[in-house]
């Protein structure tokens, strides 16, 4: 017992304001918490699949399904060689020469949209169903080709400029939607599951038993989200730009700002959803209940404008709607940060309100 330090001495030593002597940046509690959080995410194969592979698979699948097809070529037939040759001038028509019996049969069964039959004195008769748009289009195209072949010169010279530009296709609409959905999903799941799991395993309680400053713990979650953000947005965006040539017309800086505030807003929301639950089941029910309406209403896969006007103000106030609207405006219309003000405002409000509430409600054990 004689070697034991007396209590008053220990007390005096503890009261001295110790400067954390020579702690390097990497030894700082916030840095360590962030690194650890980041490593834990990277070492979770399932989480990596949902964050990285899933949105790319979804984009690839939907991009293929809804890709813009080249203008359709209409199938028609003619019963004479001369007319067939005239019609072949028109690239949008696929002409076949048939005998009249086969041709009638093909027309009746819809295999061809129009049948051109020679009349007397070089005249032509077009046989088609005028209630069928393909038939009417074929009639116009076929007649133009026949007239021009016969020497008609158009009085006004007209030329075509084809607009099939990136930015107005479905995939261009979809990629910002997927980025927004991914921001929400990874932030809320990433926050929710890990926080509840740590609480269930009494790891939160163990951490609170150390001198760790409590706000550091929550802050580290947000910081590690930002690290993940660079990867998860980068991969989906890179995939869209490389494979589908999805444009990014706004500045990358304002795009980064939108992603950052969006991710922080969803993370804060995730923290709030996870602030009290003691079981994964309770937390996941709550998270799905919050996310499902947004997956449907916030315009990930189709425009949120399709919902009735009455509910539009509510839909506009949802964080996912704000995030996706801002992403689309930036990427497709090149909107700058000032123009994105309203959406950024909605996200900021969600972030602040959720974070403050989460801090108040948070259960450490």
């Amino acid at each position: 017992m004689s070697e034991t330090t007396a209590i008053p001495e220990i007390r005096a030593r503890a009261a001295e304001k110790k400067s954390p002597r020579g702690k390097t940046f990497a030894e700082h509690a916030l840095v360590q918490l962030t690194i650890v959080r980041f490593l834990e995410t990277l070492r979770e194969p399932e989480a990596l699949f949902w964050i990285f592979a899933f949105p790319i698979l979804l984009a690839a699948g939907l991009g293929l399904a809804f890709r813009n097809k080249p203008a359709e070529v209409l199938k028609i037939a003619a019963t004479s060689r001369a007319i067939t040759q005239s019609l072949q001038r028109e690239k949008l028509l696929a002409v076949q020469q048939m005998d009249s019996h086969d041709a009638e049969e093909a027309l009746r069964t819809g295999k061809i949209a129009l049948l051109a039959v020679p009349g007397e004195n070089g005249a032509v008769t077009y046989r088609y169903d005028d209630t069928n748009p393909e038939g009417r289009t074929a009639r116009m195209l076929a007649d133009r080709a026949v007239q021009q072949a016969a020497g008609r010169v158009d009085p006004v010279h007209a030329s075509d400029e084809i607009l099939r530009e990136p930015g107005s296709r479905y995939i261009d609409f979809l990629i910002p939607g997927l980025i927004g959905m991914n921001l929400m999903g990874s932030a809320i799941w990433g926050m929710g599951f890990t926080v509840v799991d740590a609480r269930r395993k009494k790891l939160l309680k163990r951490l609170v038993a150390t001198p760790m400053p409590k706000p550091y713990f929550l802050l580290a979650y947000l910081l590690s989200r930002i690290l993940m953000l660079v990867l998860e947005v980068g991969i989906v965006l890179g995939f869209g730009a490389w494979i589908f040539h999805v444009p990014v017309r706004g500045s990358l800086l304002s795009l980064a700002a939108v992603c950052l505030i969006g991710s922080l807003a969803f993370s804060a929301l995730g923290l709030l959803l996870a602030s009290r639950a003691r079981t994964i089941e309770a937390a996941s029910g709550l998270m799905n209940a919050v996310m499902l309406p947004m997956w449907i209403a916030s315009g990930v896969f189709f425009s949120a404008q399709r919902f009735p006007d009455v509910v539009q103000p509510i839909i506009k106030a949802l964080p996912l709607t704000a995030a996706i609207d801002a992403l689309r405006a930036n990427m497709l219309q090149g909107a700058n940060l000032v123009q994105l003000g309203p959406q950024m405002g909605v996200l900021a409000v969600w972030m602040i309100v959720s974070f403050v509430l989460a801090l108040k409600l948070f259960r450490w054990r």
């Binding site: 017992m1 209590i7 650890v36």
Partner: protein, 314 residues
């Protein structure tokens, strides 16, 4: 009083904590002296963990006072946290992290103390340094938990059931480690429901039951307090119903006799006299002996004699 208080690392007075309708801790007083290893013993649900968590500043008591290292949770929580090493009952550390990463994290919370590598060496986990926590055995996990409690170079160490669920070899290994830290002059408060653990590690023990302290002293004093150095247990098989217990109590050197599920337990002071007398008495009663064992009295027997129950009624 100041002379006495300077030597108390932990003083608890009038502690009370109730959960809904259960009183977990009921008017408890404790004093742990600086430099000693103090054991808090009792069955599950005795209130040990609640008491320890109040002392650790994790649970707020309904009433009562805790003075730890001369400080109070209400005013000096931050300084206190820096000076404590805490090992909680069944904390699961993150399975995805390695031993080294885990200790580096815990070390980052403290102003001073051994580095991660040093802490790993302290608990002899060098070989597992880069293994994921999820791949460690139960004993290795407990050693890691101990290392996490030591990275702040604490003056006071709380160990809540450090060897529960471990195999005998792993328990002995952990005991060796704890003994090393004792020798470096730290104060330890240990809870356990293993009496052999308390006898081996603790200078003094308090036995708790139903939120109250029912005995306090060195393990030797407590065992001496039941005035029986030995215990004799025997089984009379099918004939146990016809056993004449009062006659057994009259044998010289026998202090107490209790019968439970066909097994009879006797507290005995003089084994060499009591056993022949017992055999003679059983022969007289014409009862065949199917099993006979004796052992020196332990803290377990102290608990049985105080409460009439075994520590672990599983």
């Amino acid at each position: 009083m100041p002379a006495a208080s300077s030597n108390a690392a932990l003083r608890v007075t009038g502690l009370r904590k109730a959960y809904q309708d259960v009183v977990a801790v009921n008017d408890l007083d404790l004093e742990v002296r600086a430099g000693e290893c103090f054991g808090l013993l009792g069955p599950n649900g005795a209130g040990k963990t609640t008491t320890v968590e109040i002392c650790e500043g994790l649970t707020v008591p309904d009433s009562g006072e805790v003075e730890l290292l001369g400080m109070h949770w209400s005013s000096e929580a931050e300084q206190l946290r820096q000076r404590l090493g805490i090992q909680l009952q069944d904390t699961q550390l993150s399975e995805k992290l390695t031993v080294h990463e885990t200790l580096r994290l815990f070390r980052s919370f403290f102003d001073q103390g051994p580095g991660a590598d040093e802490a790993i060496a302290l608990v002899q986990l060098e070989e597992k340094k880069n293994s994921r926590v999820g791949n460690l055995s139960g004993g290795q996990k407990q050693r890691l938990a101990l290392a996490c409690a030591l990275v702040g170079d604490p003056d006071f160490l709380f160990l809540d059931e450090p060897t529960t669920g471990l195999d005998p070899q792993a328990r002995r290994q952990l005991w060796d480690l704890i003994e090393q830290f004792k020798s470096s002059g730290r104060t330890i408060l240990l809870t356990t429901h293993y009496m052999d653990e308390a006898e081996r590690l603790c200078e003094r023990v308090a036995i708790m039951d139903n939120g109250k302290q029912i005995a306090l002293g060195t393990p030797r004093e407590l065992i001496a307090s039941i005035c029986a150095e030995h215990l004799v247990a025997f089984s009379a098989g099918a004939k146990s119903q016809s056993l004449d217990l009062p006659a057994l109590r009259k044998i010289s050197g026998v202090r107490d006799v209790r019968s439970e599920k066909g097994t009879v337990e006797m507290q005995v002071t003089e084994l060499h006299l009591a056993v022949p007398a017992l055999l003679a008495e059983l022969t007289r009663q014409n009862i065949p002996l199917t099993e006979l064992s004796t052992h020196s009295a332990t803290l377990e027997d102290v608990f049985v004699s105080l409460t009439g129950r075994h520590l672990r009624d599983e």
